[in-house]
């Protein structure tokens, strides 16, 4: 072989590990078959719920940070977000899903989260 291309690094194993981590998280297609269709669907639905939950949380943090929420509102938002988070934990446990599995690869747009 007379390849001109080179890969130069002093840390090949660490790069392999990181690249494997980043590609393991997101399958290229949804693995749906009769045996695991329930889990596949749950993964898809929970991913979307998780996205909305994170957006809500981020928006709430921004509003708390700039002081646009009253103490009463903070109390209510806190209760809602806490309940939502606990419910998500419960559902993830039921379907045997890990945090890092709740993501979707949107092709050229990148990852959902």
């Amino acid at each position: 072989m007379t390849l001109n291309s080179v890969v130069e690094t002093d840390f090949p194993e660490e790069f392999i590990e990181e690249m494997e981590k980043s590609s393991d998280v997101l399958p290229k297609k949804i693995d749906a078959n009769p045996k695991n269709v329930e889990k596949g669907l749950a993964k898809l639905v929970l991913t979307l719920i998780e996205l909305i939950r994170k957006l809500l949380e981020k928006q709430a943090m921004r509003r708390v940070e700039v002081g646009s929420l009253s103490e009463e509102e903070i109390e209510r938002v806190g209760e809602t977000l806490m309940k939502l988070e606990n419910k998500m934990k419960e559902l993830k446990q039921i379907f045997g899903l890990k945090d890092e599995e709740l993501n979707l690869n949107l092709g050229p747009l990148g990852d959902l989260m």
């Binding site: 291309s5 890969v7 840390f11 708390v64 109390e75 806490m82």
Partner: protein
């Protein structure tokens, strides 16, 4: 007889030098107008992705790069016969031509950077605590304490992202001086700060490499991977690229190859 494809070149003439591809078959050009598809004949579809077959594919493309502008074709794209190849070229001639013009005399380099994310996060948390940047949320109920904790985490993550952007911007300014196009992916994992590919004109490749060495030396606690020069795997723009590869039975093989290519910054068209 099936035809194994390597790349589209900006010439309709035959290749003067003998080049051997997969199964040690001689590589030749199938012309269409002023461009051509470089192929070799293969008897059976490649059943296993081996290091040898991937390297043979890459070697052919690299040899072609010495004489032509090449649009590399994804590993293991096989056609049933000459008719299929010509039909593809006919359908996409304008796109292929545009890409060949845009990518003339340009090559691709990959750069990946690992940063000490844990140390950086730890530093952010310590600074946060030291400066006593307490958030203005009372903690007289569990709900408010929950928000308080979340807000602290949110601010720390925000700072982490800011630092990542800062480092990436500094590096990118240097690399972009010598690049025609680029694609950057930030924080694919918490450690992998940057996964980038740059399209560089051939006569600027030494400057680009020098810029990389400069950045590498300036960031001693970071880990760097430099790869290239590659054919412009990541810069071929085709509107309906999925139609080009119809060999769905081989998807798993593609996935394996793509994983290997990811390590060196190469992708597929």
């Amino acid at each position: 007889m099936k035809l194994y494809t390597y790349g589209i070149i900006d010439s309709s003439k035959q290749i003067n030098e003998p080049i051997y591809g997969l199964e040690r078959a001689c590589v030749y050009n199938i012309p269409y107008c002023d461009i051509g598809m470089v192929v070799s004949e293969c008897t059976e579809p490649v059943q296993n992705v081996t290091k040898g077959s991937v390297l043979a594919h890459e070697e052919v493309i690299e040899r072609l790069m010495g004489y032509f502008t090449v649009l590399p074709v994804r590993f293991h794209t096989v056609f049933d016969g000459r008719g299929g190849v010509v039909s593809l070229m006919q359908s996409y001639y304008k796109d292929f031509r545009d890409n060949l013009d845009r990518l003339r005399n340009k090559v691709e380099f990959g750069i990946k950077v690992i940063w000490p994310s844990d140390k950086i996060k730890e530093h952010i948390i310590n600074t946060y605590k030291k400066n006593d940047q307490k958030v203005s949320v009372p903690d007289d109920s569990s709900n408010k304490r929950f928000i308080r904790k979340k807000l602290e985490k949110y601010k720390i993550n925000e700072e982490f992202e800011k630092k990542a952007n800062k480092f990436i911007n500094v590096m990118d300014i240097f690399f972009s001086k010598f690049a025609a196009e680029k694609k950057l992916k930030k924080l694919k994992t918490k450690n992998l700060l940057l996964d980038a590919v740059y399209l560089v004109e051939k006569d600027k490749q030494d400057d680009f490499k020098e810029a990389f060495e400069h950045i590498k030396n300036a960031h001693a606690s970071f880990k760097f991977l430099f790869s290239g020069l590659w054919p412009p795997y990541n810069f071929v723009i085709l509107p309906k690229k999925n139609d080009l590869v119809r060999n769905l039975a081989q998807e798993d093989l593609f996935d394996k190859v793509i994983q290997h290519q990811d390590l060196v910054g190469a992708d597929k068209i």
